[in-house]
């Protein structure tokens, strides 16, 4: 009962947040950002196209004799906006004329691949560094990784990417510095190797960008755990150091780090946008970068909605998982 109620509460909160994001999106793009002038800006869309698009998306029709809709006129189109958005209709890209949904669908999995690899590496390596640093507190390893973590944390990711391209891509020419795969038809193992080769630098930047934060938090959390009574007890009864660490301290110290991992997911999504832009990696981030520079509002709006929805979903999963891992918070 308690568990079900907890999950229901979290799902409800996530849905409310989603509604808020959609309302914000509607306000920003349909009211503040005058959609009619956005449509007329594009040279690729003929007036007839624009009219069809307005009809299709349910954008407000200005009253005769006026250039734009009133706020109330716009607000009346909110149900139509909700309907189109929920059915996945985001209109067409002002730049290319393609459907926004198609553009996103063909790039989505590449971003997922980059994000997934970067996050997993950052978490695993960050946590391992944090554990070792805390366990050997004050050692050379601890001090150097702590300062290293702080420096990495202070580094703008985009700049780090540029630096690595300069070093590995241009100067040493070991790794390709842009794109997802080489032109030409490769297949099987060759293709996988080629993609891995292209992924190496962007994944490295994402990993380095977030390792520091995870290592610092894991270290602090484990240091706190080491003062706890149950760790002292385990030591007092003669459990070997290695086992105290593995079975008593680390499992409890990992929880706060997990919270951070989930909370910072929104930042990692942002990081992926930067990294993709710098490496011309054909994912959602590069799409965003191009949309900014061509003022392609339909694409920007869709990316904003989808990335927000992804982060909300991820947070919901985290909450449910967290409630399972740490039953104490279910009642809070």
């Amino acid at each position: 009962m308690g568990t079900l109620g907890y999950i229901a509460r979290k799902v409800g909160a996530a849905l409310l947040t989603l509604v808020f994001v959609m309302a914000l999106n509607f306000f920003l793009f349909r009211i503040a950002g005058d959609p009619i002038s956005q449509l007329t800006r594009s040279a690729r869309l003929t007036p007839a196209d624009q009219e069809a698009l307005r009809e299709d998306l349910g954008i407000c029709q200005p009253p005769p004799g006026e250039a734009r809709c009133s706020v109330i006129g716009h607000a009346a189109t909110f149900p139509a906006y909700l309907r189109e958005t929920l059915t996945g209709n985001f209109g067409v890209s002002v730049q290319s004329g393609d459907k926004v949904t198609t553009l996103i669908a063909e790039r989505f999995w590449r971003t997922l691949l980059l994000l997934g690899l970067g996050t997993v590496f950052a978490i695993v390596i960050g946590i391992l560094i944090g554990i070792r640093g805390a366990w050997k507190r004050g050692s050379f390893f601890d001090k150097s990784t702590l300062y290293g973590s702080m420096t990495l944390y202070s580094m703008p990711e985009g700049w780090l990417g540029m630096l690595l391209i300069l070093l590995f891509g241009s100067l040493l020419a070991i790794f390709p510095s842009s794109g997802f795969q080489s032109p030409g038809n490769l297949s099987g193992f060759d293709q996988v190797a080629d993609i891995a080769n292209h992924l190496f630098l962007p994944v490295l930047v994402l990993t380095l960008g977030y390792i520091g934060e995870y290592a610092i938090v894991m270290r602090a959390s484990l240091l706190e755990m080491m003062g706890e009574d149950f760790v002292q007890t385990a030591r007092a009864k003669g459990v070997p150091d290695r086992l105290v660490r593995r079975n008593h301290a680390v499992p409890n110290a990992i929880l706060p780090t997990f919270t951070l991992v989930f909370l910072s997911f929104g930042f990692v999504v942002g990081g992926a946008i930067i990294v993709e832009s710098v490496f011309s990696y054909p994912g959602l981030g590069q799409l965003t970068y191009q949309a900014i520079n061509t003022q392609d509002y339909p694409v920007l709006q869709a990316v904003f909605l989808i990335s927000s929805a992804a982060v909300i979903l991820f947070n919901l999963l985290a909450d449910i998982l967290y409630g399972h891992l740490d039953p104490r918070i279910r009642s809070a």
């Binding site: 703008p156 999504v269 946008i273 982060v311």
Partner: protein
Amino acid sequence: MDTSTTPTTEVLDEPRLPTKTPSARRITWLRRRRALAGYWRAYKRNKQGMIGLVLLLIIIALALLAPFLFDKAQIGVSTSTGERLAAPSSSNWLGTDKFGRDIVAMLAYGARISLLVGLAATIGTMAIGAVVGITAGYAGGKTDTFLNFLTNCFLVIPWIPLAIVLVALMGRGVWNIILVIAITSWAGTARLVRAQALTVKERTYVERARALGAGDWHLVSRHVLPNVFPVLFSNMVLAVSLAILSETTLALLGLGDPNTVSWGTMIGDSFEAGAIVAGYWWWIIPPGLCLIAVTLSFTMCGYALDEILNPKLRQR
């Protein structure tokens, strides 16, 4: 830290003698000065904090002295006299960019804008966060439920997509960028402040002040705010680094102010001009190193302050 006793009552209780009784205001100031001196002594013992502070002072000095050291014309797109994209030499220590602007002069002037963005955006962030957090924590009830919901929404929405959308709609002026950074980053502060306000509200001295007839404004400004401030302050120093990095991120995405020179726009310009492929390392590397220096110094100061101002951490 302890401002629980209202200074005016202290003095009123004393017999009115013609001797030089210090005024209530003076007593308060003396106490504050003693507290500050104590904090400074604790801060001086923190090695990391002192390194950060010295680094920060050097950067601030560079920013303040920029007009005395370098001719402002050298950082203007049309007024600079240098050769375009020149490699480092004796006349341009770190070379020039694609407009022939001297990189060293740009770094010095850029420090001003980067620091301005960092500080102003942080003040905005803290102001919104403090107002929302204190109102939610202090008022409670429906106000709290609503503000808490709003805070949670802004915590979840990924900041870069939101910031991109806002800057794209509002325009790329430096003050717009500052505003956008504040709008996208206040939620964490609000949550922290709300939690602190909730605990302060329940303390007995607040109850006592209320029993003595203190109004809401008095309670918030004299009791809640001073107790929330230490949390706010150490959070604030850390937020400056984040704000400066945020500006860089936006500049890299082509959303920097095209009319000002900051470390962020330098990196953004070099990226846009294809400096990586062309190998103009002198245009890319220096602003990044400056950014690391400034964010690292703020982070180090922030951690040190956190240890001193949050007694819970100090005991560890």
